[in-house]
Symmetry: C2
Subunit: 401 residues, 2 copies
């Protein structure tokens, strides 16, 4: 049968130079000399590195200022000031609609090779479900181009912002896929109370959890222990993620090792962005203990951070740079976190450059996958479900967003 | 008089939208409406961000593996192992000559907008002056395209590698511009002994110093105090740089503040690369105390690190990312470190986008300088001494290297 797409001469992460055949949106064959059979479209990879599509496991689509003229980051003295500043910036009179800004960010992510993403979306009394509704519309608009998973995120807290639990309930009924949380102790003031609400809601909607945890040191370590304990007690193994988890990188080695063991037992995923000015979770130790580590951009040019354009290969470099991951083996492991582990977290099914996996792929101007991570050079082509949707970092017209 | 180059409609770091006229390699005018007078060449900036040429204040041209097929980073258990591995990789039978590899790195740096650089070059008994001779040849070959300043760098130590002091002496006689040093305590084992040799040699050749300091915590802090004291005692104010200086970021706040005061008094420059897995020097505090902070790439794809391609705008982003420099004002300060401060360190004379300064400029696909740092997007044009030497990240043929 004629393939929909035939990729010739690509260097895949295991080091082999192969051809890849794609049919009906999935990879049908990977190996040498697959060119004899016909194909509707042929992409000559020229020996360059072909990677599984990148998965951004932590974005904030609703907060971004992409697609606007440059907006300087507002000065803010502390967290409360930053939250107020973000609200102020996002409700400014001339601000473009959430849907437009979020779409601009998706377009950027896509052009850099992201094929699936998990976005936290603010759900809080001051705005209700308006951000969620906008991102749900973006998800629909981008269907087929990028898989978007939505986390209902209580940015203003759960207990300290009365009415948030009902809103989260509505958000999950409306189409959010995952329930979010935020610093049960340091921000919301009641670790057990916060987790009680989250696990009750998650169970009632049969959804997973993804909790922002910025709390540092032993406080953060304690909260991670409690999250692991709740996960086991509620039978949520494999369905809970903690984003950031800086604290693991700050604990004394024996405490960290014990905590990591508990996270592994509870099947808790850690999502990191290779933080700039916070401790970075020790990814090598996490990997070795069997903890799934996924990678995400976090804020992209918004009122929280000015940086980036949702380039997940650069983000993978940042994780390697912050974690001193230097050998080919380590760089490839970081790449696995930004691809296979993300696919596991998002529940995307078979993933990678193997027959049967969805044909989500990115061709990079590098000799091999380790170089692709270390140098994160331009993307030559981005393929979603077997369709070329970007070339040379630019979306093709047919992409349609 | 007809300008050699007229740049139309560029957004410069102070926020103004201006035209820039260039003659005889220097900026002759900056302001609105300079288009009336004729010009040999016109570059329409289209409102994009025009920055002073980037200055890479810390590279290792001799160690790079750029221009080779990808070389995986060798595994190494410790510093001694890493040093041995680097020697082994660089003397491998099929290794390309230093001059060729160094030129490949210069080309990459240039395409990303670097117009001047300071390279440390290994000077040590096992290789003598061979690496230096190669980099001297590269400097000659690249004259007019990029200014290269050379530091004679005792990678294997001064006291622990007998004969190094004579080699450093010869290196300075041969054309090295600056004398290097390395961890007087933690690596060379004798802080006073190491500094005695360095300051004696520097004085006898009338050159500045640039000392690698990786030693952490209070040891590093002590060495910085000693370097400041030697600098003042020997009358070397303004002529000494310390590269890395992770320790400043690890000291208790009061100790750090006292040390920074001494560094300021001694006119010691700190050169940082926004380190990945080490503490980062507190650049805001350094700036505020009047300490010059310059920025450099450090190792680029070599046997020490696999990362990067000498993109100094990305490096500036890394400094901002590691230092939590988020507002426009902070991003611009980081950019100043990577441009004006570097020019001061390298002694390049008037620098910046002002009349009289050398016309070393880079046009970035960003709306403004803060966005250029935060997103470090592609370079549209790179101008050296008034000549366009790269467009869209690719060297023009006329560049001639």
């Amino acid at each position: 049968m004629a393939a929909d797409l035939l990729i010739l001469g690509a260097r895949i992460p295991d080091g082999r130079l192969v051809d890849v055949r794609v049919g009906a949106g999935r990879i049908t064959a990977v190996g040498p000399d697959l060119a004899a059979e016909p194909a509707t479209e042929v992409l000559d990879a020229g020996g360059k590195a072909l990677l599984p599509g990148l998965i951004d496991s932590h974005l904030h689509l609703d907060k971004t200022l992409m697609g606007e003229r440059w907006v300087p980051l507002p000065e803010a003295p502390d967290l409360a000031g930053r939250m107020a500043a973000s609200d102020r910036v996002l409700t400014a009179q001339d601000r473009r609609p959430t849907e437009e800004r979020a779409t601009a960010l998706v377009r950027s992510a896509l052009a850099f090779g992201t094929t699936a993403l998990r976005s936290h979306v603010d759900v809080k009394p001051s705005i209700g479900l308006s951000a969620l509704e906008a991102v749900l519309a973006v998800r629909e608009r981008c269907a087929g181009l990028v898989d978007i998973q939505i986390v209902a995120f209580p940015q203003d807290g759960v207990l300290r912002a009365p009415g948030t639990d009902e809103l989260l309930d509505e958000a999950l009924a409306l189409g959010a896929d995952v329930l979010g949380g935020i610093d049960p102790g340091g921000f919301d003031g009641d670790v057990e109370g916060h987790l009680r609400v989250l696990f009750r809601l998650a169970a009632s909607h049969d959804v997973g959890l993804d909790i922002h945890l910025h709390d540092i040191g032993h406080l953060g370590g304690f909260e991670l222990e409690r999250i692991a304990a709740w996960t086991v007690a509620e039978g949520f193994q494999g369905r809970v993620a903690v984003s950031h988890a800086f604290a693991i990188g700050e604990l004394p080695p024996t405490d960290a090792a014990r905590l990591i063991e508990r996270l592994a037992q509870a099947g808790v995923t850690i999502v990191t962005n290779g933080p700039g000015h916070r401790a970075t979770p020790p990814v090598t130790q996490l990997w070795e203990a069997g903890v799934r580590v996924a990678v995400g951009s976090d804020n992209v040019h918004d009122a929280w951070w000015p940086w980036g354009r949702a380039d997940m290969l650069e983000r993978t470099f940042l994780v390697s740079y912050r974690g001193a991951l230097r050998t080919d083996r380590e760089l490839l492991r970081a790449l696995d976190s930004a691809t296979l582990a993300g696919a596991g977290l998002l529940g995307l099914g078979p993933y990678g450059i193997v027959p049967g996996a969805r044909a989500d792929l990115v061709l990079v101007d590098a000799e091999c996958a380790p170089e692709a991570v270390a140098a994160h050079p331009p993307r030559l082509a981005m393929i979603k479900a077997g369709r070329i949707v970007a070339r040379e970092g630019v979306l093709v017209d047919a992409a349609g967003v």
